[in-house]
Amino acid sequence: MDVHSRLESVFRDVFDDDGLQIHAAMSAPDIEAWDSLAHINLMMRIEDTFGVHFTNAELGGFANVGELERFLAERSTAGA
């Protein structure tokens, strides 16, 4: 699976929504349940799934899904 699909399945799992489709411009205000609590769940699940470790700045810092995807594409080491 590519980064996009893997990330999408993480989103679907965390937000418990099988119909959720992510896109590059998407950010927290676009998903009703994406509050600061859900954000922590999301970031932790992404760390596990992609085998990455976010820095302090990165944990709160991605502007949107596109930026996150680019980061994961560059840094991801875990196999699908």
Binding site: N41, M44, D48, L59
Partner: protein, 666 residues
């Protein structure tokens, strides 16, 4: 972290296939595949259990959903899966899922506990306790305990859990007078216990303090009685002494050292969201807190029902003979001897030990009589069943002989098939999932949530009740315990200033994020804020707060617009870090001054209800505002007549202005 998989590895393919079916709308098909995947494990991973819980919940099979929610807890300390399971549990709050006990638990934190509370509910369910929970606003534990009229006491808790962390302690890096520092901190906490006992019947559960992983004094800290590290260890010991039988503790220092201080505290989550315990470690903390609650509620299991071959010794006595089984001597034999020693310690703290073995009785007894390295002896067992009946019958026999219910037993057997049989045929019996490695048996036992001990003797346990009663009739130590005294002791200072370029990013951040103390929840853009600054009819200011311990930084923001001789509050919010510090009174005082300087005689306020700002619904009323005509329950308008009421100020906060206020320019 104890996860034992008896299965042959992760069946990702099956799970991925099931995910695809589910996404395509075939819930029943997905359920079949998830179930097949789960069948590969004795304790399926938490993430898989959640998928099953969610799908059963969606299909309306709530009993099955409940079962899988419970299994999440045994499926590993996976924070995100636990959160998801807790959400399913919450969604079924109205279901009559049976629980052995109900308890009202107030969680009072010095750090963010919002995500911990659902985990605690989940972990408590696992040990048979249904919780009603109350959570204080961020960092409000002292105010809530000291104020007899607080919502804490209105909640009527059975337990008050003090989820506090070491940064909360007023201990300097080095002290000339460490004993005094320790006494003062000890008194601060025990006073809270006493006050809680005066105002409620709740049992206090105090978290001890995990030390920080960074020690600037290095190894020198260990040699200096005045080092913070030294004082912190001493304080933990003193708190434990003082707790005695009247207060329960959760020994976070031990939990943290077990997992490693660097894992226990993750600075990233402290900076991001003020989590003093790393989210990944919160399931562990929840399990242990639930275990302490379960012990207080009398749910601790009374008897360990033990297998013999490959559980208490290596090998099979019926084949290897009493002289051939491994106990002591070899590496494997030492591991079994060590486990026996652990069991002996459990017996000493009050658990009964029983044997339940498929062996000839004489064979089963012989190693105890002939092998000198055996730590346990026949006299240690309350009951010794060895015959060829099925294990379920033997376990029933043990319960009968000891006159115990099946719900008093924990079954300990190295054979996964026997464990599965007991799980299915005697569901009341707790079954310990023993790892394959005998050297880890003791760890598995230590992690079982229903083997926590409340007190060593019945008298000790009874004394606990007496302590609570005595504490309640203690005269109130007025000077040390009142909320006023607490506020004064903080030596709070505030600086109020109109919006500046330098502050604008922080102001914009508060405006975009504050939910709880936010009267109107208007999310103004930075550009809009610039417009306010240019508008001569606008009063805008922020407040910085510092106290004896901390500089809290910029924590509150207010924007009001002048309309004739009235100032209309457009935005008023405060960071939840400083709720309960009377900052709101200081802010309102500043607004009154600004209104007076502008010649206004009235202040108008608006409360716009959101899903999260219930805590300020009565704020205007508390300051003496009167409800204005118009509006409805969702948007309530308020008026404050300055000529009638005059201005208000916080008696506890010294307020100064950094710059001239931006008023009188109209």
């Amino acid at each position: 972290v104890i996860v034992v998989d008896s299965g042959p590895g992760v069946r990702r393919d099956l799970v991925a296939e099931a995910d695809a079916l589910r996404a395509g709308g075939d819930a029943v098909g997905a359920l079949g595949l998830y179930t097949a995947a789960a069948a590969e494990y004795e304790n399926p991973p938490a993430a898989l259990c959640v998928k099953l819980a969610r799908i059963y919940h969606r299909l309306g099979s709530l009993a099955d959903a409940h079962q899988w929610v419970m299994r999440v807890v045994d499926g590993g300390d996976d924070f995100v899966s636990w959160q998801a399971a807790a959400a399913v549990l919450g969604a079924c709050a109205d279901e009559s899922w049976s629980a052995a006990r109900h308890a009202r638990v107030a969680v009072l934190g010095s750090y963010t506990t919002t995500q911990f509370v659902p985990l605690l509910q989940l972990a408590a369910r696992r040990v048979g306790v249904a919780l009603d929970t109350y959570e204080c606003a961020y960092g409000q534990y002292r105010q809530e305990i000291l104020d007899p009229a607080s919502s804490l006491y209105r909640f009527g808790p059975d337990f008050i859990v003090l989820m506090v962390h070491e940064r909360e302690l007023d201990l300097p890096a080095i002290s000339e007078t460490p004993d005094q520092e320790i006494e003062r901190e000890l008194a601060r906490w025990t006073t809270l216990w006493d006050v809680a006992a005066q105002h409620s019947t709740a049992r206090v559960v105090q978290c001890l303090f995990a030390p920080p992983s960074v020690e600037p004094l290095g190894h020198l800290a260990a040699r200096l009685t005045g080092s913070r590290q030294h004082m912190l260890h001493a304080l933990n010991l003193r708190l434990g002494d003082a707790a005695g039988n009247r207060v329960s503790v959760v020994d976070c220092a031990r939990l943290a050292s077990r997992v490693g201080l660097e894992h226990w505290f993750d600075a990233r989550y402290w900076h991001l969201a003020k989590h003093a315990v790393a989210p990944a470690m919160q399931p562990l903390l929840a399990r242990h807190t639930a275990a302490v609650l379960a012990a207080e509620l009398g749910l601790t299991r009374k008897c360990l029902v033990l297998d013999l071959d490959n559980t208490l010794w290596g090998g099979v006595v019926g084949e290897d003979g009493a002289g051939g089984v491994q106990i002591g001597g070899t590496a494997v034999g030492e591991a079994f001897a060590d486990f026996q020693q652990t069991l002996l310690d459990y017996k000493r703290k009050g658990l009964l030990l029983a044997i339940c073995s498929k062996n000839n009785l004489a064979d089963a007894r012989e190693p105890f009589e002939t092998r000198p390295d055996m730590r346990l002896s026949l006299g240690d067992f309350a009951c010794f069943v060895a015959d060829w009946r099925p294990k379920a019958e033997q376990v029933n026999d043990v319960a009968h002989q000891l006159d115990l219910g099946l719900d008093s037993l924990v079954f300990v057997d190295d054979n996964p098939a026997e464990r599965e049989l007991i799980r299915q045929s005697l569901p009341e019996v707790e079954v310990l999932t023993l790892p394959d490695e005998p050297a880890q048996f003791s760890v598995a036992l230590a992690e079982h949530p229903l083997l926590e001990t409340r007190a060593l003797t019945a008298e000790d346990a009874q004394r606990a009740g007496q302590y609570a009663a005595r504490a309640r009739i203690l005269a109130s130590r007025e000077a040390a315990t009142s909320l006023d005294a607490f506020h004064r002791s903080l030596e709070m200072e505030a600086v109020v200033a109109p919006f500046t370029d330098a502050d604008l990013p922080r102001i914009a951040q508060l405006i975009s994020k504050s939910n709880q103390f936010n009267l109107t929840t208007r999310r103004h853009s930075v550009q809009r804020l610039e417009e306010f600054r240019q508008d001569p009819h606008c009063v805008h200011f922020s407040l910085r707060l510092r106290d004896r311990f901390t500089d809290h930084g910029l924590v509150s923001v207010l924007i009001a617009l002048q309309r004739g001789t009235a100032l209309d509050i457009d935005t008023w919010l405060m960071s939840c870090r400083v709720i309960g510090r009377t900052v709101e009174a200081a802010m309102f005082g500043e607004l009154c001054h600004a209104a007076e300087r502008r010649g206004c005689d009235r202040i108008d306020g608006t409360y716009i209800r959101s899903s999260k700002n219930g805590m300020v619904a009565d704020l205007f009323e508390r300051f003496g505002f009167e409800r204005a005509r118009g509006g409805d329950e969702a948007v309530v308008r308020w008026e404050y007549d300055l000529s009638d009421h005059g201005s208000i100020a916080s008696p506890f906060i010294q307020t100064g202005s950094a710059v001239d206020m931006n008023d009188g320019r109209s």
